[in-house]
Amino acid sequence: MKSFLSFALCLAIFSGCSYKSPDIADTGTTINAGNDELVKGLGDDTIDAGIDSMQGYDSSSESFGSDEERLSSINSQLQSIYFGTDRYDISATEAEKIDTDANILNSAVASNLNVVVEGNCDEWGTDEYNYALGLKRAKSVKNSLATAGVDVGRISIISYGESKPKCSDHNAECWQENRRADIKVR
């Protein structure tokens, strides 16, 4: 009964995750062993490789004609992180993207590349303050990527303030698009 409840609890917890591993389910033993073993399992290399493939990013099958193609491909999959007005803390929703991006950055095809986090702001406020705000946003993302397992020595940050808007309309949707940190490899 206790094992069944543990099994059910584990299923309930992991039903909310962005990824599920058929490999984990198939190994059976990992799940049936309960929470502790599942936590241990998350650090297992086999399972990490499985997580990569379950996120739809199978780096082992990638082949690129050039470094530029490789960089372009990786950068197109990295998600920007968005922020509230005058804020540089990362919301729970955005934190999930950090995890996804961290896995991409640690994948075989990207793990030898340097990472730059670019902080940006909307058009409101004086630009000098916005350059500092953009930098704080980039720093928050850097810290989160490091927590998610990306080597902090690979990551640099830079702020572009208001200078690189994604859109130039004057409405709330556009301003939200511009309050962001972009993650890139180079």
């Binding site: 004086t126 000098e128 303050y129 705000l133 930098l135 940050i157 830079i158 572009y160 200078s163 808007p165």
Partner: protein
């Protein structure tokens, strides 16, 4: 009784000397003036309009805005005004743009003064007009408007990730691009003679602060930093800079000694500290920080000591400028349903509790005091147009000069 009277006199004298009290300092009587000349050619018309504009901006004259079409040597008078300024513009034998003016009593034709001017570079014609207005103003010993002949520096966003730096006159009638290609921002004059300026370039591996001589084009690297590097102020002797930079990914204000190359960290807060300005004879700094959870204005002595809050009004004060005991800052207000905000400028004194609102509506930001402490340059974005604003504190008036394309990123003068 005598003591009470003396106390009242002292209070009135003190209050009347404080710019934050909204009393407009009036010149006893503003003379009326009309401008006469030949406006049939475009350059002459522009010059005449600029002179009219300059005299209006000075606030020291009541200006007839219509150009009086009149030959320079004609004897016609204009008895409905007090002063008549007669002008003549032409090319001299050496090819320079030359001007002659004479200021007359409009009622009886008596001549007050006469002067000639010439400039070799025709595109600088706005400065010819500014010098004429300054000379007329000085003749009457009105408060100085010398700031009109100073070059303005501004950076303009031209497209995403690109910004160029220009020198201009305060009306933006003259503009010359000095730095282009890539992202070049936050220009700051290095000295009062306006020979060189500092600016930030993003065209290398890291943001880098450079010093550029506008006359020779020589460029000197000052310092690079991870993240960002911005020169926000220069000491009076030009030997030290206040720089916002982030060598350890944390934006703080540093004092940079140009002679030794040493830098001293002034602020140590884990959030945002930016936009330092020298005050108190360059012994202290006024700056913007979010240490209270929102941008506000603070003070700290360079030699050490506590950080003191300077502004107790508003919940988002993100830029400031200082002159003597006065601070002008930009405060975010009234967020509308669509998320639009207004930013207005406020003037406070470090000696009193009074606050004076200086603007109304739009986004009024990036204030910069002139050397005379009576005029403020600022950026106003309104209706999709980026404007250079001139605010005359004693006249309680402001004037806007629109930039025809692009968006002003930062300014200095």
């Amino acid at each position: 009784m005598k003591n009470i009277f003396l106390l009242m006199v002292l209070i009135v004298a003190y209050l009347s000397a404080d710019q934050t009290i909204e009393i407009v300092k009036k010149i006893d009587k503003k003379p009326t003036i009309a401008i006469a000349g030949d406006s049939s050619n475009q350059l002459s018309r522009r010059l005449l309009k600029l002179i009219i504009g300059d005299l209006k901006v000075s606030g020291h004259f009541r200006v007839n805005e219509n150009i009086i079409e009149q030959k320079y040597d004609a004897s016609d008078l204009k008895p409905d005004v007090e002063l008549l300024l007669k002008t003549k513009f032409q090319q001299d034998p050496t090819g320079r743009l030359a001007a002659k003016i004479k200021l007359l009593n409009a009622k009886n034709g008596n001549r007050f003064f006469e002067k000639s001017y010439a400039i070799s570079k025709g595109d600088r014609y706005p400065f010819l007009a500014h010098n004429i207005a300054i000379d007329i103003n000085d003749y009457y010993k009105f408060p100085s408007i010398d700031w009109m002949r100073r070059y303005i520096l501004f950076a303009k966003y031209t497209s995403s990730g690109k910004s160029s730096i220009y020198v201009a006159d305060y009306t933006l009638s003259f503009k010359k691009r000095i730095v282009s290609g890539g992202l070049n921002i936050f220009p700051k004059w290095a000295d009062s003679s306006q020979q060189s300026f500092y600016y930030t370039s993003y065209n290398g591996k890291k943001p880098t602060l450079y010093k550029l001589n506008v006359y020779t084009g020589s460029k000197q690297k000052i310092i690079s930093s991870n993240g960002m590097v911005v020169c926000s102020d220069v000491s009076r002797d030009g030997s030290k800079l206040l720089i916002t930079m982030a060598p350890k990914d944390q934006p703080d204000i540093y004092l940079y000694d140009l002679n030794s190359g040493s830098k001293k960290r002034i602020t140590k807060f884990r959030g945002i500290d930016v936009g330092g300005n020298f005050v108190d004879g360059d012994s202290a700094v006024i700056f913007v920080s979010d240490r209270l959870g929102y941008p506000n204005i603070f003070y700290k002595r360079i030699g050490g000591g506590k950080v003191e809050q300077m502004v107790f009004h508003g919940k988002n004060n993100s830029s400031c400028t200082t002159y003597d005991k006065y601070i002008v800052y930009s405060s975010r207000e009234s967020i509308s349903r669509g998320g639009r905000s207004t930013f207005n400028l406020y003037l406070i004194s470090t000696q009193t509790d009074f606050i004076r609102k200086l603007t109304q509506g739009g986004k009024n930001m990036f204030p910069r005091f002139a050397d005379d402490g009576e005029t403020i340059l600022y950026i106003k974005n309104s209706g999709g147009v980026s404007n250079l604003g001139i605010l005359r504190l004693n006249e309680n008036r402001s004037f806007l000069f629109p930039l025809r394309e692009g968006r002003i990123q930062s300014i200095d003068w």
